[in-house]
């Protein structure tokens, strides 16, 4: 039931493009995305705001047509076979809304009435810790509570594929962990999860597989370890200091009163640097050395420092948001 290398991916995307507007004002938000979501996995689409994550998801969800490309969800076309797909999927939108005058329980009963085979409303209230708030009108809920109602709806049909667009944005740390538990449980019970996030911690904790998106393209794929592999380690210290040729050194930058060395051989470079500093009597304040991490890869991509990654196109200014 779980990840099975032989089975077909739950979601398969090839050459997806999505353009907004026409003529000179047209903006291409998704620029040729290939994506496989293995059945039974949690796959995270990670990227800065404006990277094209939601634009990609909307096509997979069947809410918007692709400008170009081929999309298969559970082996079907998300638009022409929408009816069949909907029974087997649960979708949480990044932003959605409720009728404020219905209570939480009424909202879930209304949603249950639209599903072929819904789980009991009381069970969903329990799972999302909403039982105490069941008779409160939606307009009186906090942002986190509303998000949990939204999640309850997405999961009520007991879907085999769950698509969650930034499920924890705006949640407090406690609720965020609760959502993580819920998502892991889904996978442990055999569901496939496709989730977007701009929280590195969330992606690292939850995902079996990461797809890093930047400026409308997927620029890195794999497990968190695979993604960090081959990426340079970093050594940095205060002051703009000229360093000699060191083994493994690939790049030196001096900015913001800090010198940063990138290296493919952290131990050797660091050893030589220390020996040089002692010999020259140079003091390296606030010295920091680190192996490649998801964070360093992600930051390199977001800042356009990654040589394999195209620069952010003019006109779009993704803000970095890291928690």
């Amino acid at each position: 039931m779980n990840t099975n290398p032989g089975s077909k991916p739950a979601v398969q995307v090839r050459g997806l493009r999505r353009t907004y507007g026409q003529g000179p004002s047209a903006y291409e938000a998704v620029r040729g995305v290939d994506l496989d979501v293995p059945t039974g996995s949690i796959t995270a689409l990670l990227g800065t705001n404006g990277a094209g994550k939601t634009s990609t998801l909307e096509v997979i969800e069947g809410l918007a047509p692709a400008t170009a490309g081929e999309i298969r969800v559970l082996g079907m076309d998300p638009i022409s076979e929408r009816g069949a797909i909907r029974r087997r999927t649960g979708v949480l939108l990044q932003r959605s809304g409720f009728s404020g005058d219905l209570t939480v329980r009424e909202t879930l009963r209304q949603w249950a009435g639209t599903l072929s085979d819904p789980l009991p409303v009381d069970e969903m209230l329990e799972r999302l810790s909403l039982t105490e708030r069941a008779d409160v009108r939606m307009l009186a809920l906090s942002g986190g509570e509303t998000r949990r109602v939204d999640l309850a709806c997405a999961l009520m049909g007991d879907p085999e594929l769950v698509i969650l667009d930034e499920p924890t944005t705006g949640l407090d740390p406690e609720s965020r962990r609760e959502v993580w538990r819920l998502v892991s449980d889904l996978r442990d019970h055999g569901a496939t999860v496709l989730i977007t996030t701009h929280y590195l911690e969330e992606a690292e904790t939850l995902a079996d597989r990461l797809e890093i998106m930047h400026a409308g393209e997927i620029v890195r794929s794999g497990t968190p370890t695979q993604i960090a592999e081959g990426h340079p380690s970093m050594i940095s210290f205060e002051g703009l200091i000229d360093v000699p040729e060191l083994p493994g050194l690939t790049r030196v930058t001096r900015e913001h009163h800090r010198t940063t060395l990138e290296t493919s051989a952290l131990q050797e470079t660091l050893t030589e640097l220390m020996l040089w500093a002692r010999a020259q009597d140079v003091r390296l304040d606030d010295l920091d050395a680190r192996s490649p991490s998801l964070e360093s890869v992600f930051l390199a991509i977001a800042d356009g420092r990654d040589p394999d990654v195209p620069q952010t196109p003019a006109g779009s200014t993704p803000e970095r948001s890291l928690a």
């Binding site: 409720f98 209304q110 009435g113 599903l115």
Partner: protein, 261 residues
Amino acid sequence: MTSAFSLKRTLNLARWNAVLLTRNRLAFVYAVVLPVLPILIMLAGERGDPAVGATSITTVFLVVGLFPVYYNVLSQFVSRRDELVLKRMRTGETRDAEMIVSIALPGIVSALVISAVVVPLSQLFEQPLPVNPVLYAAAAVLAVIMFTAFAYWTAAWTRSAEAAQLTSMPIILLASLGPLGASLADSNETLARIIDATPGAAMNELVRVGWFGFDGAEATEKTLSFAETWSAAGPPLIVMAAWTIAACSLASRSMRWEPRS
């Protein structure tokens, strides 16, 4: 397609839409209270005068078409689109057509119940029974479909629930031309023709023919027999059908499910 239009889903959604309608005082007044008011015309007018009856019933139709159906459906749809409720609903099994019908249904039911209830009610004011009940019922059904179509067409170019107060004006004026039409009819032949082709005038005519057997816009007494009402109803039926088809096709081409970004 594996799941076509589901009546069960539609009725479930319509039921909750009705619940929401009762919880919004202003919408409830528009949908249920306001349309009953024109019956008071019969109370004020001379008992047993079919001209008074016709004025009252045609006004009931106009108000019923404009408030529980047209304005109510327009504002419910636009506000739910604004609030992203519709976008969320579309991620589930609900089909677009089910949403369209379920949002309109509470207002439509209110409109049809009122059009039915005025028949026995008018007896209290010694009004005649409808000459051709089938035609009268057809007028009611066609009117609610036409105004529903107008609502969805207007929704296509209405930005928000507040904007609906303005964007609804053209249809409200167009529909209200009917009652005004009669007084202008004799002064100018071309103008009369144009007014006859408006949806409100056609609806008026159909009620006057189907219920009261009136022949023409100025008639105040029954001259048409049951058989004659069929042919007299032809032109207004065609006019209403044409408006309905036009509105449906415009609406389906410009339907939007989420606010413009």
